[in-house]
Symmetry: C2
Subunit: 224 residues, 2 copies
């Protein structure tokens, strides 16, 4: 039974890879770079976007940014971002997708027609809050970033290694809370390095704005 399950999963991942490559071809044709943003629930993905988008879309080096919001249910995050006057498209995984705990390439594909891709330099796909399955499903993105909040504990890279290995950037968020936590940042960074040596890291507080310039720099580089 397990062997069968594993094979079903492998077949699903093969199909996902095929559709992800089709998405990627469409993104390339439109000239848009795509970032897949992942984390556990409540780590701060949406707040990080609320902080970064105004920086990215204004000023000398202004980028044209779109967001694709993935949630099981509702439009809370899309509503938050829409107030920034950035085009936001919502995918709900409970509507026709069985309440999936992650985005897959086919779900993203189903939303492509609703987005004017050729008018974006950068598309950020905010994945469903989950440290496990989103890491297994490429959606056609160029780069992947994940967010870990310092409230989640230093052990998470060791417990969820695939997610930390799957990304090109680890955003360590909520560092404004460090004085109030029993949390050893060096131990977290050591654990990240143990599962993904050399991965880029930025330490930020989406609440205070500390480190947000480096997060914006990474997004600008991703769009280049």
């Amino acid at each position: 039974m397990h062997r069968m399950r594993v094979r079903v999963v492998e077949d699903a991942l093969d199909a996902n890879g095929t559709i992800a490559r089709a998405n990627r071809a469409d993104f390339d044709r439109a000239g848009v770079r795509v970032v897949n943003l992942m984390s556990a629930p409540g780590a701060g993905k949406t707040t990080l976007l609320e902080r970064a988008l105004p920086e990215l879309v204004h000023g000398d080096r202004a980028l044209r940014v779109g967001v694709l919001e993935g949630d099981i249910h509702g439009t809370l995050d899309a509503d938050r971002l829409a107030s920034l006057h950035v085009p936001v498209t919502q995918i709900n995984t409970d509507a026709g997708f069985g309440g999936e705990c992650h985005l897959d390439a086919n779900m993203v594909r189903s939303a492509l027609h609703a987005m004017p891709l050729e008018r974006f330099d950068l598309l950020v796909i905010e994945n469903v809050g989950n440290l496990v399955c989103p890491a297994e499903f490429r959606v056609g993105e160029d780069r992947r970033a994940m967010v870990i909040s310092v409230t989640e504990g230093e052990d998470k890279p060791l417990k969820y290694p695939l997610m930390f290995r799957a990304c090109e950037l680890v955003v360590v968020n909520k560092i404004d809370l460090l004085p109030h936590l029993d949390f050893d940042v060096e131990r977290l960074l050591d654990n990240i390095a143990a599962v993904h040596p050399g991965v880029e890291r930025v330490l930020v507080s989406a609440r205070t704005g500390q480190g947000i310039d480096r997060w914006c720099d990474w997004l600008r580089a991703a769009a280049a």
Copy 2:
């Protein structure tokens, strides 16, 4: 393709229900009550057990407690709890189970032979850190509790309603951090009530011990 996926999921849940009922029969035969403990990664499940177990296993109303630890990978949580001299059994979902993001009834069943069930009054099953899929898979438990940390945001019941509906208790953890957060507890409680009217809630800090007596009371009642 979606319809097929939904049917595959429904078949899997049917099979899971059958095995969950077999687990439940074994638990009943052994006279052990079972709590399935769920949350997002880093909400504090293990720390809540570290706080509660010494209270439960000592004193006048001492309970015999066992723990089944579910993790994708590694034994970090089991190691933490083992130092409390409580019997802990580990299931890793990456070993033979394809790296699943939740425990299911069959995984729990595979561990039953390794636990002296008839010597426990209460078995706590600590699920994989995930706010989505664990809610879909009963494992034969009597009751389900979930933990939400106040660092995760007030919106989580609206975004992950199935998890908040699936449980008999919501533990609101890390309330010691409230003075340092932009977090409205009343709004969280309203959102919990909106998706699961009347569900029991306890507000705790696993760090300071505040409210832990009520968490212990609930576990004692679950074991009765």
